[in-house]
């Protein structure tokens, strides 16, 4: 049992609790930086994929986890970021400028879309964003002169300060690039959460009415949250495009949107850790399933038939189990385990119990 004594007001605002915690995260960062020397190229590629998904998860987490607006359409913004990045690069803009610009463009467009969308709430917003996500497929086909339409586009190798980076040619460099972006975004996110803006996001999530009463401009807060969320998602999309190498109108389908939302739910809504944990589940589930299938095949007499849709079926079941029994996700489970150890004999079952509310409709008839 570790006790942190607070001797300074700054301690409440500091991003880390104490030196021990900071040390742990620095160790993790060190391991992540050293990963190319520790694991082989295949798993490095997978790790890169996980980091990109985590970045997209961070984007959605701002909106859904911390502002409480569920979006079923973030694949649309992934696509926007991806195409903006590649089109800018093809127009001769250096990567160092094109990449931030891609996120910025996505963020601005996202904020513009947010203005009408955020008058809606709850399921209506979910349906609005779902429709956006469906439309993106058709819009990409229609804007063929820029987007390449059905035949798609290929991501050129990028040039970062004279350094040629390519997903296949130099996987190490690409991994570090992704890691750098993820670390910067995560630090920004942590910083956001301890600033007034982040606090007002959380206030809006917990109760719009009380946030308004405390002087938070709800519409503005939601718009900024949507914009920030789209910006980060746009960066994730740009990296996803570079990672995939080739993409077309079907790459960023509705399924990706839904997968993203489910990912952060499994990881744990409302926590930065949740985005990473969820991304690990999403990233390694296919590998895990194929390995499990091989084992099962070896055990029950060599039948390794491909079962179509297995991945989504298993995914759905995992999600159902999580929502029913651990709504706070993997991170919530970890928190509970940690608290159990920290308080050893004093942990009580109801410590994390959430208040339930009764439904009241807004309909009149």
């Amino acid at each position: 049992m570790r006790i942190v004594f607070k001797t300074d007001y700054m301690q409440d605002i500091r991003p880390w609790k104490d030196g021990y915690q900071l040390g742990l995260y620095l160790l993790l960062l060190g391991l992540a930086v050293a990963a190319p020397w520790l694991i082989d190229t295949f798993y490095l590629g997978e790790l890169t994929n996980v980091l990109i998904w985590a970045l997209a998860g961070l984007g959605l987490m701002v909106l859904t986890g911390h502002t409480g607006q569920a979006s079923l359409g973030h694949a649309a913004f992934l696509a926007l970021g991806c195409y903006a990045n590649i089109i800018l690069i093809e127009a001769g803009v250096p990567f160092l400028a094109a990449f931030p610009l891609a996120g910025l463009i996505t963020g601005v467009i996202g904020a513009l879309i947010a203005v009408p969308a955020l008058r809606l709430h709850g399921i209506y917003l979910a349906i609005f964003t779902l429709a956006l996500s469906i439309l993106v497929d058709d819009i990409i086909v229609l804007t063929e002169p820029w987007s390449g339409g059905v035949s798609g586009k290929f991501a050129p190798p990028i040039n970062l300060l004279g350094l040629e980076i390519d997903r296949w040619g130099t996987p190490d460099a690409f991994y570090w690039l992704v890691l750098g972006v993820v670390v910067i975004v995560t630090l920004g996110y942590i910083n956001l959460l301890r600033a007034p803006m982040g606090r007002s996001f959380i206030a809006v999530r917990d109760s719009e009415v009380s946030a308004q009463a405390m002087g938070v401009d709800v519409a503005r807060t939601k718009t900024i949250s949507f914009g920030l969320s789209c910006m980060v998602t746009g960066w994730a999309g740009a990296l996803m495009g570079l990672y995939a190498g080739a993409f077309n109108n079907e790459t960023f389908s509705v399924v990706i949107s839904i997968e993203l939302l489910m990912m952060i739910v499994i990881g744990g809504l409302g926590s930065i850790h949740g985005a990473f944990l969820g991304a690990i589940v999403i990233g390694f589930l296919p590998q895990f399933l194929s390995i499990a299938k091989e084992y099962a095949g070896a055990l029950f007499g060599g039948s390794t038939v491909a079962i179509p849709g297995l991945e989504f079926g298993v995914f759905g079941m995992i999600l159902i189990v999580f929502i029913l029994f651990e709504p706070m996700g993997l991170y919530g489970r970890w928190l509970k385990i940690r608290t159990w150890f920290e308080l050893f004999p004093f942990y009580r079952k109801d410590m994390f119990k959430r208040q339930k509310s009764y439904l009241k409709t807004e309909r009149l008839r």
Binding site: A131, G309, G313, R365
Partner: protein
């Protein structure tokens, strides 16, 4: 004449959308939750009927299989509520939405496991027969779809407005706690409404499978039914039907008169427009939240 023919074929499609939307609205009206798996329940209903009727499976007569499959889906709806949805009692709408999306994934997977991923059609006595009205040629299935949908919609409308049970359902959604105080068994009501939605999904599935082929991903049609429900105004039964008809009629006309590539956008563009300009739909039932 051409226009009339397009209109009628759109009407029949629209009725199927309307039926799925009806399922959404039923559950929304009584529990204030949105069931994103309604389209997949329709798909499952279709497959259950195919499994009972078609020669390569059980080969029961059509008119015996229909009530059985409706009953099976009703029981399934009830069990879903009893063992999954009820555990969510008192949690946020968004959580239920995500849960039902996951349910949809699982239902699609299960249907794929049992019946395979190839498109299948339901062998039914209506197949191939036609009704002629002047120059207008209607498939018997289309007529059946339209008639059944109208009957169901207005039957359910009357049920909600006139019967004690219907009123109790409305009460349970408008204010759960107050409904408890008034002695309404809110949990049992919620189970019943899921059973009802399952039965409606089975009817929609049977009609859909009679008109065309189904495969496990047919459930994604539910998204169009969403557009229908939103356009009509979530929470209104006639609105759901009207929304379904608008979407259904729009599609063949858009495919005919708008350039390819733009035509399939039409329903979603309408959905976005409705959400932006009249967020509570045509049959609005919402007023601004008062504090």
């Amino acid at each position: 004449m051409d226009i009339l023919q397009l209109f009628v074929s759109g009407l029949a499609n629209g009725c199927v959308y309307g039926l799925i939307a009806l399922g959404f609205v039923l559950i929304y009206k009584a529990t204030e939750a949105v069931n994103f798996a309604q389209g997949d329940m329709m798909m499952l209903g279709a497959f259950v009927t195919i499994g009972l009727t078609n020669a390569q499976y059980m080969g029961l007569p059509f008119w015996v299989a229909v009530p059985i499959s409706i009953a099976i889906m009703a029981v399934l709806g009830y069990l879903l509520d009893r063992f999954v949805i009820r555990l969510m009692f008192g949690q946020s709408q968004t959580a239920v939405v995500i849960l039902t999306i996951a349910l949809g994934f699982v239902l699609r997977f299960v249907a794929g496991l049992i019946w395979g991923h190839d498109p299948q059609t339901l062998s039914n006595p209506m197949a191939g027969r036609e009704v002629r009205l002047g120059e207008l040629v209607l498939g018997m299935e289309d007529v059946a779809v339209i008639v059944v949908t109208l009957l169901l919609t207005f039957g359910l409308y009357a049920f909600f407005g006139r019967t004690r049970l219907g009123l109790a359902m409305q009460g349970a959604s408008q204010n759960q706690l107050a409904a408890y105080y008034m002695g309404i068994p809110v949990k049992r009501i919620q189970g019943l409404i899921w059973a009802l939605a399952g039965a409606v999904a089975a009817v929609a599935g049977i009609l859909f499978a009679a008109k065309g082929s189904v495969d496990p991903s047919t459930g994604l049609l539910g998204i169009k039914a969403f557009a229908a429900a939103v356009i009509g105004g979530f929470g209104s039964l006639p609105g759901a039907l009207l929304g379904g008809l608008i979407v259904g009629v729009m599609e063949p006309f858009a495919a005919r008169y708008i350039a390819a590539g733009y035509s399939q956008i039409a329903p979603y563009a309408l959905l976005l427009a409705v959400l932006i300009f009249r967020p509570s739909g045509i049959f609005s039932q919402v007023r601004a939240k008062k504090v």
